[in-house]
């Protein structure tokens, strides 16, 4: 361990340049430092307990019960029955296929967009770069609903500024635009891209700013042009950030709820009510009154996103834990 971080989870991104700092003797931690670490950790731990651990445990307990049904309204221990109910539900696989159909379109565009635009912003020094960074950030700064309403205007052939384009490809009504199964992944990919790309440009840009000036100067003295700098220096050095962006966005994709839910309302209910896994969980709870199945569904999603989260922490290298 070369880094001097105390609590790895809370460490600020380590300087990728890897300038070896004088490291303390292995693992020696003063008592005052430990107290400080605990103090810093305490508010987060309380929050984690109230908003994370307790709900998860409650979900676990609920998932192990049997749902009350008209024939048997009592609640008893059901073991893994509710997990079987969820996995064997006729919509379960389809919801994940739906999600993947969006991710396959969206994630590559998202990553290319983030990295490409962040590199461009970083390569444009001074006021111009700052202005562009701000402009890219604007769509992400709009709250989810405002962003959504803008999209509805854009997609509705009756009001859209791209009306001509929509009509040219044979779409005359908002229902025709949204309800065709093949259109939905593209629409959602567009919505998610503009909503998220600005924030991620700022984050990746932060990673680029972390590259020490000496490294870039040295490369320039060795005769590297802007293209060489980008390809051989910057890109390898921000690789952890790219991995971080990919996994965080993947985790976000798994939890889609609002966009398909609202598009369904816009399209006069022509989309499936249980389009995404989260919507299926919602339906288990509030249409079927099967709270154990809803809890099981959310636990399945939790395991998936938790796995992605652990991958970020231990494999992306962005938290500076791994050996160099």
């Amino acid at each position: 361990m070369t880094s001097s971080t105390i609590a790895p989870d809370r460490a600020r991104p380590a300087r990728s340049a890897g300038t070896a700092q004088p490291s303390r003797k292995h693992g020696q931690l003063h008592r005052s430092e430990a107290r400080g670490a605990w103090t810093l950790l305490a508010p987060y731990s309380v929050l984690l307990l109230v908003a994370g651990i307790i709900p998860v445990v409650y979900a676990l307990v609920t998932a192990m019960q049997t749902p009350p049904t008209p024939l048997n309204p009592t609640v008893s221990f059901g073991g893994v029955q509710s997990f079987i109910t969820v996995v064997s539900d006729f919509r379960f696989l389809q919801t994940f296929i739906n999600i993947f159909s969006v991710i396959i379109v969206w994630l590559p565009i998202m990553l290319l967009g983030i990295v490409g635009l962040a590199l461009l912003v970083h390569a444009s020094p001074g006021r111009f770069g700052g202005t562009m960074r701000f402009i890219y950030y604007i769509p992400g700064a709009l709250a989810g609903i405002a962003n959504f309403v803008l999209w509805v205007y854009l997609l509705n052939p009756a009001q859209s500024p791209i009306q001509g384009f929509l009509n040219a490809i044979g779409l005359d009504t908002i229902k025709a635009v949204v309800a065709s199964p093949a259109n939905l992944p593209v629409i959602l990919a567009g919505m998610l891209f503009f909503q998220g790309v600005g924030t991620w440009i700022v984050i990746v840009n932060g990673g680029l700013n972390g590259i020490a000036d000496e490294v870039l100067e040295a490369a320039a003295i060795d005769g590297a042009n802007a293209w060489n700098l980008t390809w051989h220096i910057k890109l390898p050095m921000i690789r952890p950030w790219i991995g971080y962006a990919a996994l965080m966005n993947l985790a976000y994709g798994f939890q889609l709820f609002l966009e398909p839910y609202l598009l369904d309302q816009v399209a006069s209910n022509a989309l499936p009510d249980q389009w995404s896994p989260n919507q299926l969980g919602y339906a288990f709870a509030f249409s079927n009154f099967n709270f154990p199945a809803a809890a099981a569904m959310s636990l399945i999603l939790l395991v998936m996103t938790l796995a992605i989260g652990l991958l970020i922490v231990f494999r992306s290298g962005i938290f500076g834990e791994e050996e160099r």
Partner: protein, 445 residues
């Protein structure tokens, strides 16, 4: 290594806290399983009523007419097919309190869970409101008759009549069809001779009511609390399917739904269609702004080989009362129910829907026909009155939402240019699957 050590301690602490909280939750949540049969309570007279936005005037009229009853009027979300209401009632049952004393259900399907064993909210009105029930045509109040008990009151009757554009028919010399088969043929003929003219809407949640219910197709044939018959291969379904297919193939129907914003333009091209009595005022007059003297309603269509017309039903709201109250509170809630179902101050003066309660229908017709909006005004209102008796029985509101399933399966298939057959088979599969997820045993004969 100290760093790791302290992390392990954290994990241990969190685990202990987690286990402790689990024990707490286990004890705190044990009564959550109880349902239904709480003791009935009496507030001493004060009642709370829940109404959707269009029914607010009804509650206000009640407050004016009965100032002696302390009434708390709560306006609720009126979205048809909304899930929030169900969720709230599930929570009231867990808490053992919080139910409204009377409610207008925003969706007719709501009556399925409101009378189901889990929520079991709606009171049995069979004896308490016997005199009011005498004024109802049993066919009109049929949705409220569940396992031989009357569990709600119908606010308005909403049978389909056959609508046609009288001006268009007169100008072009067409004669109004009498059978469903004639309707299909004429629709295709008109679409060919006058491209752009349409004879129906297929994309809304009421479309299966309009065509499948009208044919007696078993999509909602409730056998008992837990059993239902769904069989789309039944001849009655097949003839309705063939008719819709004919309309689709002949470009004679819009794939939009009647409530779509885009339907306002398409609606002006409508030359004929089966449709609920409320289409006249709500859709044609107020929403699509079709000029007066254009549209006319007539007797519903008959299927070839049958002697009587057969027609669907689109909505026609339901009033329910709490089964959790007694004493003065219950007496006042019953007064409220009787008022909103029967009193001319609401049913004649304010409502735009044909009253479900028979004795006030004539007064409502007299008031509405004075506007002289329809082309064949007298005949249209005559058709309104007789239509309710032509709605096939054996169609209950279920926990699954047939109209919603139609909107999610058939509509996208038609909107994306797929065949109607593809949408139809998806509709059948989804119907059976959804019914099963609600715990129904599905029979197919």
């Amino acid at each position: 290594m100290k760093t790791r050590g302290s992390r392990r301690t954290t994990v241990k602490t969190v685990l202990v806290a987690g286990v402790a909280s689990t024990m707490f939750l286990l004890t705190a949540c044990s009564p959550a399983g109880t349902t239904g049969d709480q003791e009935q309570t009496d507030s001493g007279g004060k009642i709370t009523v829940w109404v959707d936005p269009p029914r607010v005037p009804a509650a206000e009229a009640f407050v004016t007419a009965h100032p002696e009853i302390e009434t708390n009027v709560v306006q609720i979300d009126g979205t048809v097919g909304g899930k929030n209401l169900q969720q709230q009632f599930a929570q009231f049952n867990q808490a053992g309190k919080g139910w409204p004393d009377a409610i207008f259900f925003p969706s007719n399907d709501d009556i399925a869970w409101a009378t189901g064993a889990q929520i079991n909210y709606a009171a049995d009105l069979t004896d308490d409101m016997a005199t009011v029930l005498e004024g109802y045509d049993p066919a009109v109040n049929a949705p409220c008759e569940i396992d031989d008990k009357i569990r709600c009151l119908r606010n308005d009757a909403a049978p389909d009549v056959f609508w046609y554009n009288a001006t268009f028919f007169a100008e072009n010399g067409y004669s109004v069809p009498k059978t469903w088969e004639e309707y299909g043929d004429l629709a295709v003929q008109i679409a060919a001779e006058h491209p752009g003219k349409i004879s129906g809407f297929l994309g809304d949640a009421y479309a299966p009511d309009r065509y499948l219910w009208a044919s007696g197709c078993p999509t909602n044939a409730r056998q008992s609390e837990t059993e239902v018959t769904i069989n789309l291969d039944d001849p009655s379904c097949v003839r309705a399917k063939d008719l819709i297919n004919q309309l689709v193939e002949g470009n004679a129907a819009s794939t939009l739904g009647i409530f779509d914003a885009d339907a306002a333009t398409a609606g002006l091209e409508l030359v004929m269609s089966p449709g609920a009595v409320w289409w006249g005022d709500y859709l044609f007059n107020q929403t699509w702004k079709i000029p007066a003297g254009t549209m006319a309603g007539t007797t519903p269509l008959t299927w070839d080989g049958e002697s009587e017309p057969s027609t669907g039903n689109e909505g026609g709201g339901l009033w329910g009362m709490s089964s959790h109250i007694t004493g003065e509170q219950k007496k006042n809630a019953l007064t409220f129910m009787e008022f909103v179902a029967t009193d001319p101050a609401w049913q004649v003066e304010l409502t735009t829907g044909l009253p479900g309660y028979g004795p006030v229908q004539d007064a409502w017709i007299e008031k509405q026909s004075a506007a002289n909006y329809f082309a064949e005004n007298a005949a249209t209102f005559e058709a309104f009155k007789e239509a309710a008796s032509y709605v096939p029985g054996d169609h209950a509101y279920m926990l699954y939402n047939t109209g919603g399933i139609w909107a999610e399966t058939v509509t996208p298939a038609l909107a994306s240019g797929d065949t109607f057959d593809a949408g139809w088979s998806a509709f059948g599969d989804e119907l059976v699957n959804q019914a099963k997820t609600f715990g129904y045993t599905v029979q197919s004969e």
